[in-house]
Assembly symmetry: C2
Homo-oligomer: 140 residues x 2
């Protein structure tokens, strides 16, 4: 197994509402509506939105309740970008579960929770090198 | 917000056990053990393992029970690679929640569930172009 991830699928309760939320953050998808799934190209991988019951069934796993312990992260290029993205998410209807501020690891971050309960940490971390294409490289 | 994801953190119950599982799949991390987190460079992003209670608290969200509707995917380059990765995961102690086989969307895939309940679909999908570096590009 190569050390990489191709896609993340987020289970959602209302696909149209979920798609509109990510569109409000500036994301664009060209998935035809009849597919009943939405694929966003996200850097070198894919973020997919799909019915919560269907992704559970397709994964062969029983749906639990609430947060299952998976948090996505979006690293920005400055603390100001963190503030801007959190403001954007708030305007799009997200709950801000942690207001932006200094973190215990020395960076600056906040967390928004999308309309289906999936949290995103929005962070600025000096130690993680962001490429022009948004790819991140861990320090050696 | 740019259309990309920097990191995914998986909440785990036993960090050493979780790290050993991904190492058994061939993944390597250079995170110092005293950090109490494990970062894997995963293509242009990061897969992190962290205590389940801590990631919930850090995300400002209450931990639910079981699967929260997030499934990761790893696209291989052939059906045979799907079989090989599923076999590797089984050998590393994963539960195979869906044995590899043809899928409703015309590809070939199986699903393993890691030791902390996080499912990975391992798939071969002709329509998704995989680069040499493992990045994936959606069809236009």
């Amino acid at each position: 197994m190569e050390q990489r991830i191709t896609a993340i699928t987020l289970g959602v309760d209302d696909l149209g509402r979920a798609k509109a939320f990510y569109e409000a953050l500036g994301w664009r998808s060209n998935t035809p509506p009849e597919m009943e799934v939405v694929f966003f190209q996200a850097g070198g991988m894919v973020l997919a939105l799909w019915d919560r019951e269907k992704i559970a069934e397709d994964s062969g796993i029983q749906l639990g309740t609430g947060y299952g312990g998976v948090t996505l992260a979006y690293n920005g290029r400055s603390p100001a970008e963190v503030d801007a993205v959190i403001a954007e998410a708030r305007a799009a209807g997200a709950r801000i579960s942690r207001e932006p501020g200094e973190t215990f690891w020395g960076g600056y971050a906040g967390v928004f929770v999308d309309l289906d309960g999936h949290p995103w940490e929005v962070a600025y971390n000096e130690g993680w090198v962001l490429g022009e294409d948004g790819s991140v490289t861990l320090p050696h």
